[in-house]
């Protein structure tokens, strides 16, 4: 499938008084046309920083892209000027933020907030932009768009506001849509509606989506592939099935084990992953997860593990996949759901020089 976006060895740092915070440390992934890639990971793992870096929205100072490439449409976004980026933001790559209560301008009419991007990127006249805004409001399921278009954000409920934000994001038919926890702030029924809406619109305009979330339950519903982030790195990546039914990284095991399962009748115990995230100012020497991993080997405290490849699409960054590693038993919740993946290689190999 055609790649729309390719991220190579992305490093993002923040220069703070206390020192340099290395929030993203060598992230590689790609995004194919029309697919949804979910990025999961606990708070502070660098999900938002990664996604903002893609749009060059990291405030500088203190933040900067220290290293790496963001290839889009044959260009490296990491090297574009601010002026050139402005032509891409909102047009080719759009974003939805977490909190619909704060992401709309309280003193500007909904209509103007939607029309703004259309006028800027598509050179529409005011009246055509208005027509299009009405159409978009209808598309995202807002009743009475003719009335609503002249209203202000405070006249909308949270769910309705997020619909407006979706309309803003999709106004110019972007090739990539980044949704940073778009449903976290909403209650469950509204969450489902917004997810449904996003999937629906994705089919209509064939956008690729990067979907950031804490919630593995949501991932199973919306994503094609999943990237698991820990301490500013992707530690495992694969198709939804590979991550849910054949996870290889102890951190992924921890995430899955701590997920309330709906499909098993046996109430498995919810196990939060013990310990705290790594100090990103002084990342540990070996594997960042080693101090929290009950599977940690001696080597884990000395050397960072390389990326291993389990199938064409499945990658995990753990020494456990090394041929000399002892066999270990994953948590019960993971073992219970485990399935054999037909496309797996005979044994894991080093993913050297792979372009994921």
């Amino acid at each position: 499938m055609e790649k729309v976006l390719e991220v190579k060895d992305l490093h993002v740092s923040f220069d703070t008084y206390g020192g340099v915070v290395k929030a993203v440390r060598g992230v590689n992934f790609d995004l194919k046309k029309g697919e949804t890639l979910a990025i999961v990971g606990e708070s502070g793992s660098g999900k938002s920083v990664t996604s903002k870096a893609l749009m060059r929205l990291i405030p500088n100072p203190p933040g900067r892209i220290a290293k790496g490439e963001i290839l889009f449409d044959g260009r490296d976004l990491a090297k574009l000027s601010e002026k050139e980026m402005q032509k891409i933001r909102g047009k080719d790559i759009a974003m939805i933020f977490q909190d619909p209560m704060t992401s709309l301008n309280p003193t500007m009419k909904i209509g103007s907030q939607i029309m703004e991007g259309l006028i800027k990127h598509q050179n529409l006249s005011k009246s055509t932009a208005k027509e299009r805004a009405l159409e978009l409001l209808r598309l995202v399921g807002i009743p009475q768009p003719e009335v609503r278009i002249n209203q202000y954000p405070h006249q909308f409920s949270g769910g309705m506001r997020q619909r407006v934000v979706v309309a803003v994001a999709l106004s110019c038919n972007p090739k990539v849509l980044i949704a940073d926890e778009p449903t976290t702030a909403l209650d469950v029924t509204i969450q489902a509606q917004i997810l449904e809406l996003m999937k629906d619109l994705q089919n209509k305009i064939d956008t690729s989506i990067i979907f950031i979330t804490h919630d593995l339950g949501v991932v199973a519903n919306v994503a094609d592939r999943v990237a698991v982030m820990y301490g500013g790195q992707i530690v495992e990546m694969g198709t939804v099935d590979e991550i849910f039914y054949d996870p290889r990284h102890p951190y992924t095991w921890g995430l899955l084990a701590s997920m309330p399962s709906l499909d098993t009748s046996v109430q498995t115990e919810l196990a939060a992953i013990p310990g705290t995230p790594p100090d990103l100012m002084n990342p540990p020497k070996g594997d960042a997860f080693a101090p929290r991993s009950s599977y940690a080997l001696e080597i884990d405290f000395e050397h960072e593990p390389p990326m291993f490849q389990i199938s064409d699409t499945h990658f995990a960054k753990t020494w456990l996949l090394h041929e000399n590693a002892p066999a270990v038993e994953p948590p019960k919740a993971v073992v219970e759901k485990r399935r054999t993946m037909p496309s797996n290689f005979a044994k894991p190999r080093l993913a050297e020089e792979v372009v994921l």
């Binding site: 749009m55 933001r89 933020f97 309280p106 003193t107 209203q151 202000y152």
Partner: protein, 309 residues
């Protein structure tokens, strides 16, 4: 908006009534009498005068009488200035004071906003630090010190501007600048803080994510939102200008309301003191009213019905 405006007008009238009442009773509590200073009066004469001004009536009667006159716009007549009506005294003096106060408020707001915006946009640069230094000076140097300093440099040494009096626009420049210093300092600090906060908000991030340019974002999204809280301090600043003008009018020998007010206090001229107090209060309440209306104009959450608080 209409409902909101009517509501504000009602509030304004209620506040006015309370202040008028308080002023009346506070004045009655004050020791001394305007008649004591003229010791040449015989006790009989004092009784006659008290009778004439209704000062022997029971307090409630005086109060009702006073309110009635107030409603008619009659503030009584002066004990000292040949019995002239207080309204006329105020009317003669208000022009200079109003011009001075208005100029200071406008100058202070405009310069303050510009400085604040520059400081926020170029924050942590030399511009920001420069604006901070100006603000610290503006807040900490009393206006009369600044006024004296200007009189010496611009008036006496360089002879660029007239040192005192009130005989044309050039005479207004120094007192206006002296009075506006505090306003400039406060508004610029406030504007800087608010604008920085707004620039860090989610909706500015969304505007950036739409591909809007930096200046476009500031003009279309940030300024209006940053102005909402800044408007709140216009009321207090107007008070600062009113009180500041009492001193500044003395320093520059400006024939304004403040100067007359100060004199009437030293002479225990009841009616003038009360009248001027009421007048200042009314002015202040009116400014608050204008500020409230401005709020409504700028912030749709206040203006548009169906809004949540």
């Amino acid at each position: 908006m209409l409902r909101y405006t009517l509501q504000r007008i009602v509030y304004m009238l209620i506040t006015m009534f309370i202040i008028a009442t308080l002023t009346f009773f506070l004045m009655k509590l004050l020791p001394g009498s305007p008649l004591k200073s003229q010791d040449k009066l015989t006790p009989e004469q004092i009784t006659i005068i008290n009778e004439k001004y209704g000062l022997n009536d029971p307090l409630p009667v005086q109060y009702v009488h006073y309110l009635g006159n107030l409603a008619k716009g009659d503030l009584g007549s002066s004990f000292q200035y040949d019995n002239r009506p207080v309204t006329e005294l105020i009317g003669n003096r208000i022009g200079a004071s109003a011009q001075l106060g208005f100029q200071a408020l406008i100058l202070g707001s405009i310069v303050g906003l510009i400085l604040g915006i520059i400081a926020a946009i170029r924050h942590n640069t030399i511009f920001d630090y420069g604006a901070t230094v100006l603000a610290v000076l503006g807040i900490s140097i009393p206006s009369f010190v600044f006024a004296g300093f200007m009189q010496y440099i611009l008036g006496v040494k360089l002879q660029l501007l007239p040192v005192a009096l009130w005989e044309g626009f050039s005479y207004t420049i120094m007192p206006t600048i002296a009075l506006s210093g505090f306003v400039i300092a406060n508004i610029s600090r406030f504007m800087r803080t608010e604008l920085l906060e707004v620039m860090g908000s989610d909706y500015i991030m969304l505007a950036k994510a739409k591909g809007m340019s930096g200046t476009g974002i500031i003009i279309k999204h940030a300024l209006r939102n940053a102005l909402i809280p800044v408007i709140t301090i216009i009321g207090p600043l107007a008070v600062n200008i009113m009180t500041g003008s009492l001193v500044i009018e003395q320093i520059f020998a400006i024939p304004g309301l403040g100067e007359q007010f100060v004199k009437s206090i030293s002479m225990n001229d009841y009616t003038v003191i009360m009248g001027t107090t009421i007048f200042y209060s009314a002015l202040f309440i009116f400014i608050i009213f204008v500020v409230d209306i401005l709020y409504g104009v700028i912030d749709p959450r206040i203006r548009v019905a169906g809004g949540k608080k």
